[in-house]
């Protein structure tokens, strides 16, 4: 039996005006287990807290009930109070007689009666409270960043800057991501490569950063502070340590007609290749789908020309296992495929291109060395039509329901740059809305319209039809002028919606991190915890969480890094003690709890048990990792035998509360 003290707060007149606090403390004094009951003007004041502390000592209280404002307000305060008096902080319960009683009831009799019931309910619960201890778990001081685009790079650099080891896993042969393919950046128009490549080099040279390029995450086990990750290093058939990146092999390889993904297939590379000149690591990779040596065992030319002897046709995929304290997801985005959008004729004409392809066509390192030429005939286009929102804000099911966010600005950039370099070109932009919030963004867009004479037309393009003479007929409506337009274009550029990388969904499953219906990672709180996943120890960086431009991505990348650093500086993590607990004697090992756990906190172990007939038997039983469990209680209801219970909100505690509320009196 507990020795319970009850402390009824007046909250000035907030409670006392509609609740007879004296009557409440008198009534509760009669409850079984209550040895002390009092009331006071402000329980949360220093004097009030001292009353509680003194009573704990004087009456040897084992449990405390405070009838006051919402526990969301002062539970933490009173926990500290009772702890200061030597009581376990979880031996306290708060009865909410302000927000849920005095403030909503005008009738003093009804309010007093309800306050007594709420107090009695808290007493009934505290009778069954048990002292709880917050656990501790160690932190591995190393972070993993999944994805080596600008988001991953920035996060890794920031974490390394703080002195922690950090690994980047990038599935492509080089880090850099989408930004390497972009020509110039809005709104400043500086060259993407000029600002990105130094950061890539920093990554390569930083002692704290290790890059697993051409690698993928295979499996993730563990929990915040203590993840174990298997990383698959895909065979690149070139010894990274020996290759000097001289590029000799890439000029001698006889397989010349491999579509070059860096230029989006608009030109070719060899079967052995370095994606681009500033690749990090600058190491060649053999594409096994095209290499004749790997496919048919014939050729071997690259090995012959390699002075460093780096070619290794026998190389195998390799699995590396590493431990991390935190994981940052930075898997980025891709433009959607446009085959569902026949009306824009993407698959009908080479001269209907995506915006990313347009970037390559204007980039000095691109297939045309930076001269804007039509892919079909290599001629200068004189009329260019840009179409925005291709697949964005699309509720028809073909595209994506969300705004891809970056298209308005890069289209303005494309239009402006075209008009600047080729003033004889007519440039049309079709838009639904132009969205240009952001520092200097609207000014940038207005410059395109006002200074560069880009024709912005509000309206959607209805049909894009290539004509035999090479012209492309664009049919569209001008909503402001309320007229149908027919434009003979030489080039049509589609601002395709962006979507999360396909690798994100299986990764989310491995991480037990949640995703929304569009496969963007969900943040722990949309406003207040935007760079954390709800799963502890998993952080979000860049477009994997939602469409973002470069400044936003870098901001979030640094924010994620700050959160990681905040975690890694701790030697130990304290864990929430109100976690699930499995009674192994009653556990059936059925896996129901494991299946509903959103955090992967439940694992199964085979344990030997002594049976009633004194034999031993090995049984499969659930085991909760208290460091990972967040205490939602989903498992407790999934468990048919009641073996799973939640500390602090146990079955018996909740039922005692139910009983107390329903009690006749």
């Amino acid at each position: 039996m507990q020795r319970i003290g009850v402390f009824v707060c007046w909250c000035g007149s907030n409670i006392a005006a509609t609740v007879d606090v004296q009557a409440v403390s008198d009534a509760l004094a009669k409850e079984p287990g209550v040895v002390y009951s009092t009331n006071y003007q402000y329980m949360c004041s220093e004097a009030g807290q001292n009353m509680i502390k003194n009573a704990i000592k004087e009456y040897n209280l084992t449990g405390v009930v405070v009838c006051s404002c919402s526990p969301r307000m002062h539970e933490a305060t009173f926990r500290k109070t009772v702890a200061a008096a030597g009581l376990n902080p979880y031996m306290l319960e708060v009865a909410n007689i302000r927000e849920q009683c005095s403030w909503i009831h005008k009738d003093k009799e009804a309010g007093t009666e309800k306050a007594i019931v709420l107090g009695r309910t808290a007493i009934a619960k505290v009778q069954l409270n048990a002292p709880l201890q917050a656990g501790e778990s160690p932190v591995v001081k190393r972070a993993l960043v999944i994805g080596g685009g600008i988001a991953g790079i920035q996060t890794a650099l920031d974490i390394a800057e703080a002195g922690f080891d950090v690994d980047i896993v990038e599935k492509n042969p080089t880090i850099g991501g989408k930004m390497t393919q972009i020509d110039k950046t809005f709104p400043t128009l500086d060259c993407a490569a000029c600002i990105l490549t130094p950061k890539m080099v920093d990554c390569a040279q930083n002692e704290k950063i290790h890059i697993y390029s051409y690698s993928e995450v295979e499996s993730v086990k563990g929990f915040v502070g203590n993840f174990t990750v298997s990383i698959k290093k895909k065979a690149r058939y070139v010894d990274e340590n020996k290759c000097t990146g001289c590029g000799e092999c890439t000029t001698k390889c006889p397989m010349k007609n491999v579509p070059n993904e860096f230029n989006l297939g608009m030109d070719n590379r060899r079967a052995i290749y370095i994606p681009f000149a500033q690749a990090v690591p600058k190491v060649a990779t053999i594409d096994p789908n095209y290499c004749n040596m790997l496919k048919n065992g014939k050729c071997g030319l690259c090995a012959k020309v390699c002075g460093a002897g780096a070619i290794d046709y026998k190389q195998q995929d390799q699995i590396v296992e590493e431990k991390y304290g935190a994981i940052v997801v930075a898997t980025g985005y891709n433009p959607i495929k446009l085959d569902k959008f026949d009306e824009f004729g993407y698959s009908l004409s080479k001269d209907v291109i995506t915006s990313l392809e347009f970037e390559r066509l204007t980039n000095a390192a691109g297939p045309t060395s930076g001269t804007l030429l039509r892919p079909s005939d290599g001629k200068h286009p004189h009329t260019i039509v840009f179409v925005q929102c291709v697949g964005s804000r699309d509720t028809s099911g073909c595209g994506k329901p969300y705004c891809s966010k970056i298209c308005c600005m890069y289209t303005a950039k494309h239009a402006m740059l075209t008009r600047e370099k080729y003033p004889d070109t007519d440039v049309y932009v079709f838009y639904i809305d132009v969205r240009s919030p952001g520092k200097n963004y609207d000014e940038f867009y207005r410059r395109a319209v006002e200074q560069y004479g880009v024709h912005y037309i509000k309206g959607m393009v209805g049909k894009v039809a290539p004509r035999a003479d090479g012209k492309i007929m664009v049919q569209a409506s001008d909503l402001l002028a309320d007229e149908q337009l027919h434009i003979e274009a030489d080039l049509v550029v589609l601002a395709a919606a962006i979507e999360p990388d396909k690798s994100a969904r299986p990764l989310a499953t491995m991480l037990t991190a949640s995703m929304d219906t569009n496969d963007f990672f969900t943040e722990a709180h949309a406003k207040l915890r935007p760079v954390e996943s709800p799963t502890a120890g998993i952080f979000l960086s860049g477009a994997c969480q939602g469409p973002k431009d470069i400044p936003d991505t870098v901001s979030q990348a640094s924010a994620a890094a700050a959160k990681v650093i905040g975690l890694l500086v701790k030697d130990k993590l304290t864990t929430n003690p109100c976690v699930a607990q499995s009674n192994e004697m009653m556990c059936n090992g059925c896996s129901s709890c494991e299946r509903v756990c959103p955090y992967g906190a439940i694992t199964y172990v085979d344990k030997e048990f002594r049976m009633p007939d004194r034999t031993t038997r090995v049984r499969r039983v659930a085991s909760v990792n208290p460091a990972v469990c967040q205490g939602c209680g989903a498992c407790t209801v999934a468990c048919p035998s009641g073996a799973m219970d939640l500390k602090g909100f146990s079955n018996s505690q909740i039922m005692a509360e139910v009983d107390a509320i329903c009690q006749m009196k």
């Binding site: 129901s592 509903v596 999934a638 048919p640 035998s641 009641g642």
Partner: protein
């Protein structure tokens, strides 16, 4: 079939594939068959039986049996194989220690049905095509077999074995025999009628726990109703509330896991149609969350440990058709 089963069991014992056989043993009368473990050819010859009264679902015994040493042969009827898969899904049995032979089932005859038709003093039962001839000390009576089948067999969901190592007889098929008709009929009643129906049924309950103990889904190490710490343990229902609570909680605990094997109703000494509770959940699950047959596939995710973001709201209960 019985002969084939015995000789195959002997072979498997002989060649060491298994060291014992889980089957059915003949009793005092033609119908009082008891599940039994046979360890030798002699034991099989002496007592092994397979007839129209071998209704017991043997799969639950495998929980106990697979703790023991060695591999056991089990004969499973189609509906028993669903329970078997469900037990596998829940890690309750060790597949490596079991050799499953699927055996055909034409539906089992119900002793209770015969009794309800006024039959008493049974001394023998013969099958004659689609008819059953019951011999009693008061004379013989003939019934159409279909009329004296167990309820669960009249509404058989499947003649298909969903798991086996070896199959005797033809591969069966999943059937549609209107097993939800009675549930639909109850749903169509007014709440008062439904309340009266269930009160008259559940008030018969004597809390013998036969339904729970026979149920392959009720395999808890310790049932909440036996656990004084659960707050709901009972040894007898004190009043209508406790009668209701036991059956609601039991049905809820097996919801999404119940394969509808019908053992609960078969064994109830008070003839309470308990399967109508389980079938209600199955029908709701099928209608609200998509068709799901527990045990159809080992390892499948039960509907109550699953969800979709677009699931119906609980308020659908207020708006559904019916009264």
């Amino acid at each position: 079939m019985q002969g084939m089963m015995i000789s195959r069991a002997k072979e498997l014992l002989q060649d060491g594939t298994v060291n014992r056989v889980l089957g059915w043993q003949a009793g005092e009368f033609v119908y009082d068959i008891t599940p039994a473990v046979f360890e030798s050819a002699e034991e099989l010859d002496a007592g092994f039986v397979y007839n129209a009264f071998c209704g017991s679902n043997l799969s639950k015994y495998l929980i106990k049996e697979t703790i023991k040493e060695g591999k056991i042969l089990v004969f499973l009827k189609p509906c028993d194989t669903y329970s078997f898969n469900q037990l596998l899904t829940e890690h309750r049995i060790d597949r490596d220690k079991i050799y499953v032979i699927g055996i055909p089932c034409q539906g089992k005859t119900s002793g209770e049905m015969l009794k309800a038709k006024g039959i008493s003093g049974i001394t023998g039962i013969k099958e004659d095509g689609d008819n059953v001839i019951v011999e009693t000390i008061y004379g013989n009576e003939t019934f159409a077999r279909a009329d004296v089948l167990e309820e669960r067999c009249r509404t058989c969901k499947s003649k298909k074995h969903v798991v086996y190592d070896e199959l005797m007889g033809e591969e069966g098929e999943v059937l549609d025999s209107g097993r939800f008709d009675m549930v639909a009929k109850l749903e169509a009643m007014t709440p008062d009628e439904r309340f009266a129906f269930w009160r008259s049924q559940l008030s018969k309950c004597i809390r013998c726990n036969a339904c729970r103990n026979v149920c392959p889904a009720c395999s808890c190490e310790k049932c909440v109703f036996d656990n004084p710490n659960s707050g709901i343990s009972q040894k007898a229902a004190a009043d209508s509330f406790e009668e209701n609570m036991f059956h609601i909680i039991r049905a809820f605990h097996v919801a999404g896991r119940c394969t509808d094997c019908g053992e609960c109703s078969r064994v109830c000494p008070q003839n309470i149609p308990l399967h109508l509770l389980n079938r209600k959940f199955i029908k709701d699950i099928n209608e609200l969350y998509g068709e799901y047959q527990a045990g159809e596939e080992a390892g499948s995710r039960a509907p109550l440990v699953n969800y979709t973001t677009g699931d119906v709201e609980p308020s659908i209960v207020y708006h559904r058709e019916g009264k």
